[in-house]
């Protein structure tokens, strides 16, 4: 059953439309003097929330050690396959007193053109080594420039204090066992 909507009969002034038009003009006129809400973008920046999902970056702990152990879980989970990791052994000079760590990434590439900012890499990372940063201004003149290598990813992520350090604790445990 179609519902019949009763249309109210317009009175003379309503049918004239002119009062309504004058009312509308008054509204737009008042609007002219309200403050603008536009953000003047390059000078003013929006507030970026802590959990903002910008470009993913690799982080170091407060002692300056790279946290990634190149388990390649992020490479595996990445839906658009933006991450490519070349795993390798921990080198001599970066060899840590964290005795449990054997692997570190030789190279770590994230193609920012492929990345969809889903945050799965951050979620799956067992080492808290990769985080979505607040970076949202990604532009370059070539596609190659937007494939970030390890150095750029560490620059992007910076250091994050207060993260889980399970290898250090394991190290402590091992030391305790030996004694």
């Amino acid at each position: 059953m179609a519902k019949v909507v009763e249309r109210r009969k317009l009175n003379f002034w309503e049918e004239l439309y002119l009062p309504a038009i004058v009312d509308g003009l008054g509204r737009t006129f008042r609007q002219m003097f309200k403050p603008e809400i536009t953000l003047q973008y390059p000078e003013q920046r929006p507030v970026i929330a802590d959990d903002y999902r910008g470009a993913p970056g690799l982080v170091k702990d407060e002692e300056g050690r790279e946290k990634c152990v190149s388990c390649q879980l992020c490479e595996y989970i990445c839906p658009p396959k933006a991450i490519v990791i070349e795993p390798g052994e921990v080198s001599e000079e970066t060899s840590y007193d964290y005795s449990g760590i054997e692997k570190a990434p030789q190279e770590f590439y994230i193609d920012m053109l492929r990345c969809i900012y889903c945050g799965y890499c951050e979620e799956i990372c067992p080492e808290q080594a990769i985080f979505m940063t607040g970076e949202y201004e990604l532009n370059a003149s070539t596609r190659q420039e937007l494939v970030f290598d390890k150095a750029r990813l560490y620059k992007l992520g910076g250091t994050r204090p207060g993260l889980l350090k399970k290898w250090k604790h394991k190290d402590d445990g091992l030391a305790a066992e030996e004694h």
Partner: protein
Amino acid sequence: MFDIAASLAKIIILTHTTLILAMYMPWVERKVSAWIQDRVGPNRVGYAGLLQPIADTFKFIFKEDVVPGHVNKTLFVLAPCFAVIPSLFILAVIPFGPAVQVMGQSVDLVIADLGVGILFVFAFSGLAVYGIVFAGWASNSKYPMLGGVRASAQMISYEICLGLSVVGIFMGAESLRMLDIVQQQIDGSWNIFTQPLGFLIFAIAAFAETNRLPFDLPEAETELVAGYHTEYSSIKFTMFFAGEYAAMFVFAALVTVLFLGGWDLPFMDSASFAAMGNWGALLGFAVFLVKSFMFLLLYVWVRFTLPRFRFDQLMNLGWKVLLPLALVNILITGFLNLP
């Protein structure tokens, strides 16, 4: 010799004023629309974006001028000219200030002081529709065609209302000469007070004649892409653009002259303008420009208040409301002016 020099000077002053206004009107429009929508508007190029029109003009000039292969070349090139020229011709009969004294001679500030001034206006505003119809036809594609058809129907309908709405003014001034109409308003009261209905009809018809919202059906971007100028680019598009804004200014100037007393100020009469000499003429010109600019602002203000009409509503308003009202207005004026 003197007459030719005086005419040339007047032509140069008035056309340049119009073209500069037509150039800066988009800036005004963008600013006002921004304020209405709580935005800032152009503010990057120059102080408060004041150089934006110049940048836009250069952009338009240096863009590639695409002439699609499927168009009728002659009409396609002719159409933009038809969009600009009639508006500029109408300027010729618009008086824009009190008489100037130059080298002991009195020069009226009107390019062509025609006895049939207002008829000349209607003759040329009737020509303006050709620009749009030619563009619509010559483009040989569907949206411009629809825009052109709409324009012809719309402009022809509203031309009648436009013409009839000013009949009351001639009955009051007993002349078709623009200077007489202004003089009558300086001596008496402005026509907007004696002919409020005529003013309303003229203003609405002016919106329709210049294809401005809420009557911008020929170029309704949500329905017709860009209407009659869909296929145009570069300088040809600029000519349509400039033509539209020039037409807006011309109609604003017409409203000023016909209804708002031209350069008249409430506390001044012809004698006090004459007493100030050429400064009085300059003041008169400034008053004329300010009044015209006020009407131009009304165009912008209305554009960002009212939505677009549907085509049948447009036709109903024109033929069933404005036309009878204009006729009634003539009758009332006739009865009121009975000796």
